[in-house]
């Protein structure tokens, strides 16, 4: 039996046919849609490396079955930059060295984008640290991550003011 559904990934509608209901969103992205930017660190929702946005909310893609996502809107790391122009969060991660090996980075950045959209931290370092604590970084680039999120918050706020 096959399962047919469609979802939007980074703005593009994708018709999906899978033969196996056990496929997670993470494995759908990585193994079937060739979107390998999202990483598998633990496959059980403990590390956050697979964080993507589903209908605007932060989700561990390893914990959600793909067949449950008919009609959902998915945002992954591949859809964040504007061509060669990085998103302010990506820019801030580079400037503040918010990563070393880079494996948890796509998840950190998606989580940071989700956190900033949630809009509850401002530049408060304590709240940023709490809000980013679902994403492990074994290289322990935490200081850089926290600074990057605060800097991105500043940059995005400034951008909003310019637009207003």
């Amino acid at each position: 039996m096959t399962y047919s559904f469609s979802l939007t990934v980074n703005g593009a509608t994708r018709a999906v046919e899978i033969e196996d209901p056990r496929v997670t969103l993470l494995d759908l992205l990585r193994e079937r849609l060739a979107l390998t930017g999202t990483k598998k660190g633990c496959d059980r929702g403990q590390c956050g490396a697979c964080t993507v946005l589903v209908d605007g909310r932060r989700v561990n893609a390893c914990l959600i079955l793909a067949v449950t996502l008919d009609g959902a809107e998915i945002e992954t790391i591949e859809g964040v930059a504007d061509g060669n122009r990085p998103h302010p969060v990506q820019e801030a991660f580079i400037a503040h060295d918010g990563f070393q090996c880079g494996f948890c980075t796509p998840g950190q950045i998606m989580s940071a984008i989700g956190l900033l959209r949630e809009g509850e931290t401002g530049e408060d370092r304590e709240r940023i640290r709490e809000g980013m604590s679902g994403n492990l970084c074994r290289c322990a680039a935490y200081a850089g991550i926290t600074e990057a999120v605060a800097a991105a918050q500043r940059a995005l706020a400034a951008g909003d003011r310019r637009r207003a």
Partner: protein, 751 residues
């Protein structure tokens, strides 16, 4: 560019790429998800492999339901000891210095829980996973030996990678007997797992008798040779690619059984195979830090000078191979003492074989030493910093050799100043914060060897004024893509923007091993030398040609500056690389070099990076919850190539120290030998909210002996002072001396 203040001006040299706080050259790839890690490769026709693991720790596999697995839709092959293809060499052979006995389904024997016992290949990951589950193994179990008491003790001959297990200099017992003050300190450190964010993975694709392997590997040429040996093909038939490693910490220098099996399986089924370890499958076959039990005895005269230092460690290894954490060796090179002894014993248990894990030996040994030194300072009634200064080693205590450089005094001074150490009360339980929590301050000395191994590199000047440099160096997060390119650019006299730097591939010259905190020094020296070699050839072309403005200047009479050769005595005479090559009609001019230490300097000098770490902890007086609120480290590690990235490395190391002190501990069920926390929920590593303000100061240090670049290393030293500093701060806050790591709430409540 972020603000990156330095404590000394010496990192930057005029016209130099090195010393600049560049951001990562691979940064854009990493923040956009475009950096390709091994498991991201999907060659056409790919099959997925999942290995089944043993749920007993010792005994035999009596049955596997292979028929059920094969019958599952999508399953292509099931590999067990009954049908495993032959290996070209015995799995107990050790083809490289980073080789351990591996499990490749050679028989039905189980040596530890988590050992691979079968490999299922299927069209999809889901089918392979289900197939492995359907194997439902039956066992003939034997009792598991897990703790220090259950294990089999043995006399160790070597520890680490070939170091002697025992060392003596001077008369330790006499030194202790003659001491005015004596301290004995015992501590235990747990089994720890690397738990890099990227699981071990391999994608193997054959083309005739050649195989392309994508797998994170910290030592590409060694890994290539090891694969070739097991697969029975010449090394040049193995292409090993490892452009990005999602954290290694030592575990990815080792080839494990499942790696070999996946490559064998791909040949067997005639299609590419991908095997990605599950998080719990990394408990066993890919190494860990072995647990230790340590005892230190220190003797002091009335002024707090050491009269003897004795450090003994009993360390765990597996029942079938040896890697003994060289913990006691951490006491050999840091404090001046007329009598010094270190020794190790081993205990065999039914776990996988340990291996190098970030600061192997130094981390657990320094944790014990720094606590013991703190206890000694307390016993003498001396401030812990002053005690360390009184026992400052002007020459290496183990060998008597002078240090190649040692700015540890400056580290103590700058770290203490930044932290605000002055005025610290000697007695414990004297400080509280506004919320009534106990506050403690502690410190520790940091030390790590500054080794060099061997690496090769090639540099090619191109007609368009750019250059290509190559070495099979590895970036596992430490910043090789950036720092090594900076060094290569300096060797070539070019701005780093004009360098195309290739690494992480077995086609390149042997870049050595990314480990031991020696990669920048070693691969960097090779790259610098290769650039200098290419420039020397270019200078010959220019100075030997009558049409060149440099004609007759001689090789030594010109220097390379930003893509031009310039006459040393008459800077008005110069010529661009592109013009020199164009006139000679040469499209490419190649140079090469080997990076290795000058043997005379290696013989005559003791070479170490040094540091001092200061920690503040807050302890709830009722609940005994411990929080680290501040960490300040000051480190002298020779010339810093990229302060931006070096600081990240040191910060990361210090947080590993915090993790060692308060978080990490692998637990095994003593009845079954099975891991009780083979996941990232139960095996605690710090999350962002656990990490306080962490600051790493870079202390200026010139070292003319370690290598011409003056580079030591920063990858591991951050752990070494930090564990002790935190434990000592816990003592200062509470008056309770921690006797085991990680320090638990229970340890303070029960005290």
């Amino acid at each position: 560019m972020p603000d990156t203040p330095l404590t000394g001006p010496g990192h930057v040299r005029l016209g130099s790429n090195s010393g600049q706080p560049l951001t990562r050259r691979d940064g854009f790839l990493k923040v956009t998800g475009a950096a390709t890690f091994a498991a991201d490769n999907r060659p056409a026709g790919l099959l997925h492999a999942v290995h089944a693991i043993s749920t007993i720790a010792r005994g035999r596999v009596r049955s596997l339901d292979v028929a059920a697995a094969r019958a599952h839709p999508g399953v292509v092959e099931v590999i067990t000891p009954a049908n495993r293809p032959p290996l070209a060499r015995d799995q107990d052979d050790k083809p490289t210095m980073f080789s351990w006995r591996v499990e490749t389904l050679q028989d039905d024997r189980v040596r530890y829980a988590g050992q691979p016992i079968a490999l299922v290949i299927a069209e999809t990951l889901e089918a392979a996973t289900e197939g492995a589950h359907l194997l439902a193994p039956g066992y003939a179990p034997e009792p598991a030996r897990i703790g220090f008491e259950d294990g089999e003790a043995f006399e160790a001959e070597t520890v680490g990678i070939g170091s002697p297990a025992a060392f003596v200099r001077g008369e330790v017992e006499a030194g202790l007997a003659g001491a005015t003050v004596r301290v004995e300190f015992r501590v235990e450190t747990p089994t720890q797992y690397h738990n890099a964010m990227e699981p071990h993975a391999i994608v193997a694709a054959w083309d005739g008798d050649r195989v392309t392997i994508d797998s994170p590997n910290q030592a590409i040429a060694m890994g290539q040779a090891a694969f070739a040996g097991f697969l029975g093909i010449p090394p040049e038939n193995v292409t090993l690619r490892s452009p990005f490693i999602g954290g290694g910490f030592g575990s990815k220098a080792i080839l494990s059984g499942p790696h070999v099996l996946a490559a064998l399986a791909a040949r067997m089924v005639g299609r590419p195979v991908k095997l990605v370890f599950r998080r719990d499958q990394m408990v066993g076959p890919v190494g860990h830090r072995g647990a230790t039990r340590q005892r230190l005895r220190l003797g002091m005269d009335r002024d707090g000078h050491l009269t003897a230092l004795d450090h003994e460690a009993v360390v765990m290894t597996s029942a079938f191979d040896d890697f003994l954490e060289p913990a006691a060796n951490a006491s050999q090179n840091i404090y001046a003492t007329p009598a010094l002894a270190t020794r190790h014993g081993g205990v065999r248990v039914d776990l996988g074989t340990p291996g190098p894990m970030r600061a192997p030996g130094e981390a657990s040994g320094s944790a014990a030493l720094e606590c013991a030194v703190d206890e000694a300072a307390v016993a003498c009634g001396i401030d812990p910093l002053e005690f360390r200064l009184r026992n400052y080693a002007e020459t290496d205590p183990a060998t008597g050799r002078p240090y190649s450089s040692k700015a540890l005094r400056e580290c103590y001074a700058q770290g203490a100043e930044r932290f605000g150490w002055a005025g610290r009360p000697l007695a414990p339980r004297r400080m509280r914060d506004g919320a009534g929590r106990l506050i403690g301050w502690g410190m520790g000395s940091a030390l790590f060897p500054a080794p060099m191994f061997r690496a090769e590199a090639r540099a090619v000047l191109r007609a368009d004024g750019t250059a290509l440099v190559e070495t099979s160096a590895v970036d596992m997060g430490q910043g090789a893509w950036t720092a090594l390119a900076q060094i290569a650019a300096d060797g070539l006299g070019l701005p780093v923007e004009r360098i195309e730097f290739r690494a992480g591939h077995s086609d390149h010259p042997d870049g050595g091993v990314a480990g031991g905190s020696g990669h920048t020094a070693t691969a960097g020296s090779a790259l610098f030398g290769a650039g200098a070699d290419a420039v020397a050839r270019l200078a010959e072309l220019a100075t030997g040609h009558p049409d060149s403005p440099l004609f007759g200047a001689g090789n030594a009479g010109v220097e390379a500056r930003l893509g031009r050769l310039v006459h040393r005595e008459d800077p008005g005479r110069h010529e661009s690389y592109a013009d020199i090559l164009a006139r000679a009609g040469i499209a490419e001019l190649a140079g090469q070099a080997v990076g290795a230490r000058d043997p005379a300097h290696a013989r005559d000098r003791a070479m170490f990076s040094h540091g001092a770490v200061f920690a503040e902890v807050q302890v709830d007086p009722d609940l005994c919850q411990i929080r680290v609120s501040r960490l300040v480290g000051a480190f002298a590690a020779g010339r810093i190539i990229n302060p931006h990235l070096a600081r990240s490395q040191l910060n990361g190391g210090m947080i590993w120290g915090l993790s060692f002190a308060l978080h990490e501990e692998a637990l095994h069920d003593p009845r079954t030998g099975r891991s009780m926390n083979a996941d990232l929920a139960g095996y605690h590593v710090p999350v962002n909210a656990d990490v306080p303000s962490v600051e790493a100061l870079l202390v200026h240090e010139d070292d003319p002996y370690v290598n011409p670049l003056g580079v030591k290393g920063v990858g591991e030293i951050g752990i070494t002072g930090t564990v002790g500093a935190i434990a000592n701060a816990v003592w200062h806050a509470t008056g309770t001396r921690p006797r085991r790591f990680p320090i638990r709430i229970r340890d303070l409540l029960e005290a």
